[in-house]
Each structure stands twice: as C-alpha cells, then as structure tokens.
C-alpha cells in the first residue's frame, strides 16, 4: 500500500464535501477548522480557495470551527493555519476544479485540456460553454486523492495580493463578535473564581446575591450567580463576597522566574554533546509571568435542552473543547455541538475555554434557557492561564576565534501547554472530586517545543546541550501565550551573542554572519541591518542604542530580523524599529505586515513593561492600572520589509517577530547603557540598578 502523503488535515478529513459545498445561487461554501482570531486567516483562506477554484471572492461563504459543520484541524495555534489549512484547501479546491473540468469535458465531448474556468463558469477558448460548477453538480462525497496539480505561482490572481480583510467591515460597524450575540430568553451567569488553585468555598453572601436580583448555583466549589441581564449578573457577582479556604500558597517573590529554579520538575535533555576545552562564559536571562491582556473579556453561551448541549465559544479548538466538555459533564460527544464565534484578539490559551466550560456547566445545571457567561477584567487578569515565567541560562566555551565551541542551555519553566489536560480547566478544579494534576512534559523542540521553542540557536554552533525543567506545581495556572518559549529563548540567545561579540571585539552583525550559513536567515539579517543603516552604528554607552535580533520561528517557520533604536535615560524610549521577514509564499502581504507589526508592538510591550504580580491572594494584577501595556505615545515608527524568496511554500508568520523584537530591544538598551539587563521587563527600576 502506498503511504498517504496528504497533509494531516486531509488525512483526518478525507472527503471533499467535508471542505467544500456548492450552494444555490452561485455560492461556494468553504468549511475549515482554523478560525479567525484577529490574524486575518479567514481572508487568506478565501484568497487561496478563490484562486484554485477560479471564482471571485464574493462567491465564498466560510464556516470555520464547528463540530457539526467543519473539519477537525486541531487547534488554531502556532502560526500554522496558512501552512495547514491553506495547504489543505489548495489541494481540495484544485481537485474539485479538475473534477468539474473532467465532467464538463465528458458532457461536451471535448478534451478537458481545452477548457477553463472563469468565475465558476466553464469556458472553451474564452467562450461560455453553458456549464458551470453549479449546473455540473459533480458529487463531492468522495475521497480526496491529492492528484490534481496546484496552480503555479504565475497563475495566482488573489494569492500574493493585498485583499482587504473580509471581517473588518462588520467589526467597524458595531457587530462581528460573540459578545454581541443575543438569544431569546438568554440568562447571564458569572462564576465565583477561587483566588488560589484548589481553594475551597466556605461562604458566600446569598442574601446579597438575591438582593441584586440573581439566583445562586453551586456544585462543589463551582459556584455562580445567574441573573436576567448582564448588569444584574455583574452586580450580583460583586455582591457575593465569597470566602475561600486553603489552596496552593502564593507569595510575592514567586512572581520572579528565579523562583522556579530548583522546584520539583520534570527534566528532559533534548540535546547532548561533549563539552569543548577553553574559556567558559555564562549568563542567565529571565522573563516573568505575563498576561494575554486581551482587550475584550472571555465570553460563551451554552444551551442544554435536556438531551443536546450547544456551545458558542471563541475557543481555538472546537473539537478539543467538545472532548473536554463531554468528560467534564458526562455527556457523549455526540450530544454536544461546539460552534466558534469570534472573540477579542486571541494570543494563546486564554479564558475562552474556561468561560465555555462554565457556561456549559451552568446550562446543564439549569436546562432550558441559553446561558451566557462573560468574565470581567479582573477575571481575565487573575484567572486566565498566564504565560509562564522562564529562566534561561546559557553557557558556552569560546574557541580561539572567539566563536562558541559548545553551547549549553538550561531552562526552568512552568508548563507552556496545558490545554490538552482537562484537569487544568478552571471549572474542573472546582467540581467535586477534582482530577489529579497531570504530569507536564515539554513538547520536543523538533516538533516546535514549548519552553524549548527556539532554544536551539539558528546559528552554526557545535556541541549543543539543551536541558529543560518543567516545574510541575507553579504558583499560578500557566499555558500557551503567543510564541511560548520563543520570546525568552531568542532574547537570551541574541543577548548572549552580543556579549560574546563584544568580548571578541567583533561587530554584532559580523559576529552573527560568521555563525550563520542559512541563506534565508542571512538575507533577513542583512536586509534589516541595511534598512537601519547598521554600518553607521555609533559608539554606545551614551544613552542612544541600536540593537538587532534574529530568529526563525520554531526553527522552521518564518524568518525575522529586527533592528531597534532606543533612547535610555531613566526609562527606555523606542525611537525606530526596522524589520525584514521571509515567510515564503505570502498569501496577503498587507495582512502579513499587519501581523509582523502587531508582533513587534506586543513583544515590545512585554519586554519593556509587563509582569504579572503575585501576592498571598494569588495574582494581584487585577486591572490595566496594575498591568500597563504599550500605549500610542510609546509606539515608534516601524518599517517592515517582506523578502521574496521565490517559489517556496508559505511559512507561518504570526509569531515570528516576537523573539527578535525582544532581543533587539535588549541589545539596543545594552548598547545605550554600556551594560546589560538580563531580566525582562526592562523597567525604570532595572535600569537604575544596572547603572
């Protein structure tokens, strides 16, 4: 038997009609598993499908993320949607087009080679044949073979062009979000969240809840108010004054990454090599726990009619959520439908699934009406899974040429990926007989990694050793946040390289180029340096700095090099940022630039400002006042360039600028100060301490 070489999405969803349907009136219905989270994927997928099918964009309708109506493509994570969903959709659409042409050829008694498609109509030498996709109606309940050739790049009309985002008009006109959905008879729930993991509820002011016009529901320590409208739910939640007992203790100093070092952990040695002889240099870098900081709160609606449970959620994975809910509630998966609806920007494993589980539990406790759960801002800061703190130590032995002859990285981190564990869902921890904590292992870096993501340098460094310690009981819940370990790891690698370059008396750009044979990495680095006039870099140490950072996301997705100019006195001011990126075949260049810029700004915010504060009551950052992010007045001018590497496949770009930006800022600040700050965020206090 010949091995199936189709992409995983197509192996898992092997029939054409799982992806595509022709609807009356000349419409084409696309069904995909990857969902819009603000990254513009819906538009990119529409461009791909329209090009391969030879139809106009306006014919397309998209269903994304629906356990009843769209394929299972796993999670929308890791900048893989264009590669996975886009790649699969291309194959499906090319095959459907070829089937239609073959059927048309049979009916017309002409060779298929002489036929073409123009906006869904079959033509011969440019003349209509009277046939089109809708009249041909070739049955699509057949296996995908992958045999149809894909269009060459020269034949693309929409791929590679700046098609405007299909979802933005609605969002600029007051609609477009799950938050806006109203169902008849909908009631509003708010769950009382325990401040510490495992805390038990010992008291609640039920009279105050009733006075606020709400009812009180409880199962174990899962407790909620239910009210006829959102305002009453908010008021009852504020009036409930729950008292909690016990739970995993938290102290202020647990917020530092250094606290993770030495805690009970699962260790993995992902690379091992002999050490070289010579002078050894080492340094430790860190970043604290960080918050998603999504602007809009997590929200979900669930309805249970006594037999079937339907959930609307902005989850990143409707099928995994369904699996968890089935186990949590004790219903078969066939009795649950999960439908994706758009939420506020999603940068990872946020509160979406937790809010969905809360709505689902409330719906099964109170069958009948649709139940909407919307978190408050403090819920987001204190109860979404945080991005974990990380400590990264690099030690290298220097050769006579000043270049590293070996490289040993040691990482201490809490889990970066907790979504697959039902026990890590907030509601699961509050129900009677909570499930035991799972073991947390770091995903292997060869598959993308977690704490180990981008821990392996992109450079030609021999004798690599990589040790990762995943702390099993961190003080707060942690999971995936944009880029996982990529940002702290690239910050550490690129900072360390700058220090090694300085020690060798070599310019940081030249030093990197001596270690870099990957031509695409060299291209982005040289391009970004030229954009920033790197050769005009001044002597540092006098308050103005220019720094660079380079990375290839997950060591296999898009390349990005970033150069940052800063001014530093008591704090860091970003002056200019230049970025060159190579994402292979770019479906929508303007959308790609939007993602590059967004990643740069978010990473700059994390690098300069962000840290989740901890205290005896758990997370003490509860509002934007406690957790400032970069504002308009702190945004520098940003220039991006997309390199065109020729006819090569697309590479996910959504996260590729995060690590290089953090690194470039760190290096620019070091250049400005003449001394290095190794712990993020690079705050006023840390600058004062460094000087």
């Amino acid at each position: 038997m010949i091995a199936n070489t189709l992409p995983k999405s197509l192996q898992d969803n092997p029939r054409l009609d799982q992806w595509l349907a022709f609807r009356p009136g000349g419409a084409v219905h696309l069904k995909v598993g990857k969902i819009e989270i603000g990254q513009g994927i819906a538009t990119a997928l529409a461009q791909i499908a329209a090009d391969e099918l030879d139809i106009s964009l306006s014919r397309l309708a998209l269903t994304a993320g629906d356990t009843d109506a769209a394929p299972d493509e796993g999670m929308t994570t890791g900048s893989m949607s264009v590669e996975m969903s886009g790649g699969s959709l291309r194959i499906v659409c090319a095959e459907v087009r070829a089937l239609m042409l073959a059927e048309a050829a049979t009916r017309l008694g002409r060779p298929a080679a002489g036929l073409a498609v123009e906006d869904g109509a079959i033509t011969e030498n440019g003349a209509p044949t009277g046939l089109d996709y809708w009249s041909l109606a070739v049955p699509l309940d057949r296996a995908i073979t992958g045999a149809a050739p894909l269009k060459p790049r020269a034949a693309h009309r929409l791929i590679g062009t700046d098609v405007k985002r299909l979802d933005l008009p609605a969002k600029l006109n007051g609609a477009g979000f799950l938050h806006d959905m109203v169902l008849p008879g909908m009631v509003h729930g708010r769950v009382l969240h325990p401040p510490l993991i495992g805390a038990r509820l010992i008291g609640v002011d039920e009279a105050a809840i009733a006075r606020a016009g709400a009812s009180f529901l409880r199962r174990g320590d899962f407790a909620a108010v239910l009210a006829p409208n959102e305002a009453a739910a908010r008021a009852a939640h504020a009036a409930a004054r729950p008292e909690w007992q016990g739970g995993r203790p938290v102290t202020h100093d647990m917020g530092e990454a250094a606290h993770l070092v030495g805690q009970p952990a699962i260790h993995a040695r992902f690379r091992e090599a002999p050490r070289a002889e010579g002078e050894r240099v080492s340094a430790t870098f860190s970043r604290p726990y960080i918050s998603h900081g999504t602007l809009g709160p997590s929200v979900a609606i669930a309805q249970y009619d006594g037999a079937h449970l339907t959930i609307w959620s902005h989850t990143q994975g409707v099928y995994l959520l369904r699996r968890h809910l089935a186990a949590l509630i004790g219903l078969p998966e066939t009795a649950i439908s999960v439908r994706h609806a758009q939420g506020s920007g999603c940068y990872g494993h946020n509160g979406a699934d937790d809010a969905a589980a809360e709505a689902a539990l409330l719906a099964t406790l109170r069958p009948g009406p649709p139940i909407r759960v919307m978190w408050g801002r403090a819920d987001e800061f204190t109860h979404e899974p945080a991005g974990t703190a990380m400590s990264v130590t690099i030690e290298a032995t220097l050769g006579a040429d000043g270049l590293p002859a070996d490289w040993v990285t040691t990482i201490w981190s809490a889990p970066h990926v907790a979504r697959s564990h039902l026990a890590c869902m907030l509601a699961a921890q509050s129900l009677p007989d909570p499930r035991p904590d799972p073991e947390h292992h770091d995903p292997h870096p060869d598959g993308g990694g977690g704490a180990s993501r981008n821990a392996i340098p992109l450079y030609d460094i021999p004798n690599l050793t990589l040790d990762v310690h995943i702390v099993q009981r961190p003080p707060i819940r942690t999971s995936a946040l944009r880029g996982l370990g990529a940002l702290p790891n690239i910050f550490a690698i690129e900072s360390f390289l700058d220090d090694l370059a300085a020690r060798a008396g070599i310019d940081p750009l030249d030093y990197r180029l001596r270690l870099l044979s990957d031509p695409r990495a060299r291209d982005v680095l040289i391009t970004a340096a030229a954009m920033a006039n790197w050769s005009g870099r001044w002597r540092g140490g006098e308050g103005r700095g220019l720094g660079l950072g380079l990375g290839r996301y997950k060591n296999r997705s898009a390349y990005a090099a970033v150069v940052v100019e800063v001014e530093v006195d008591t704090e860091v001011r970003l002056r200019r940022i230049w970025c060159a990126a190579d994402g292979g075949l770019v479906i929508n260049p303007d959308g790609a630039r939007n993602q590059l810029e967004g990643g740069i700004i978010q990473a700059a915010s994390m690098t300069l400002k962000e840290a989740v504060r901890l205290g005896p009551d758990g997370i003490s950052s509860r509002s934007w006042a406690d957790y400032p992010i970069l504002r308009f007045s702190e945004i520098p001018e940003i220039t991006t360039t997309l390199l065109d590497p020729g006819d090569v496949p697309p590479l996910g770009m959504g996260e590729c600028t995060m690590g290089p930006t953090a690194a470039a800022i760190g290096n620019a600040v070091a250049h400005a100060l003449g001394t290095r700050i190794r712990d993020m965020p690079l705050t006023r206090e840390r600058i004062a301490a460094a000087l």
Binding site: G38, Q39, G40, D162, K164, R165, D167, L168, P169, K171, L172, N173, G174, A175, G176, F177, H179, D180, V182, N229, E230, A231, R234, H292, G293, T294, L295, G296, P297, Q342, G343, S344, G345, C346, Y347, M374, G376, R377, D590, G591, N594, Q595, E597, G598, G599, I600, I601, Q602, S605, S623, W624, A625, I629, L630, R631, F632, S633, I635, E637, I638
Partner: protein
Amino acid sequence: MAVAFTLNGAAITVPAEPGDLLIDTLRTGCGLTGTRYGCGEEQCGACLVLIDGAPAHACGRETATLEGRAVTTAEAIPAAIRDAFLAEQAGQCGYCLSGMLVAATALLARNPSPDRAAIVEALDGNLCRCGSHPRIIAAILRAGRAA
C-alpha cells in the same frame, strides 16, 4: 424613572434607575453593540461614546445623568472616518476599534487635519493589544487629509 436624550441624532426615552450604566442601556436596552464592553473600569477605551461631542466611557457613566444630552455611538460616526480605517486596514481583532473610531471622531471635529502628535495625544487612553497602533494613526491621518 425615565430619561430622555438624543441618541445618534434621534430622540429617545429609556428607563434608567440610579446605578444603571450607559453601556448597558446602549448594548442591552438599545441593541447597539458597537459600544464594546472592555474593562468596565474606564481604563481601556473600548466603550467610548461621544456625549455632546466629547469622548466619555459608557462603562462609567450613569444613564440617568444624560437627560437632554446628545449621545453618539460608534455606529453613527462619519462614514469617511470608517472608510479611512478600512483603507488602512487599521485593525487586527477589531475589538478596540469602536473606541478608536469615537476618539478619532472627537479629535477630527476639533482638529480636522491632526498631525501624528495630536493623534497620539488624543488616542493615548485607548488600548490596543494586537498592535494595530501604526495603522490606526495612519487611518486618522488619512481621514484628516480627506477632510
């Protein structure tokens, strides 16, 4: 009790008890979802509306205080400003954009051709987490040029 005011150019009378917030009146009472619930603490700007032309946080404003006032929500901002945001593709997730449109409208009303510094100053209270700031600035510059 009831309160009468002008909403997006039309006279309206709505029930308003003390403590009722404008954001709930707009979203729940009037079905105008363009006013986004962000933080509920007047810190992010997602819920901005214009009250007599000045930006105000709907999440912190009691509906009962609006007697005789004129309220403008994101749904009713000038089309040219919305078009400028579309032309610049100024947004990623889009959740903050209602507040940005409202803040931009207030700015452009008093300064029809603002420069970058004026835009930054006017929008500094509006948070965006996706990092669409440069495009939002470009959109308002564009709207200013078109004015």
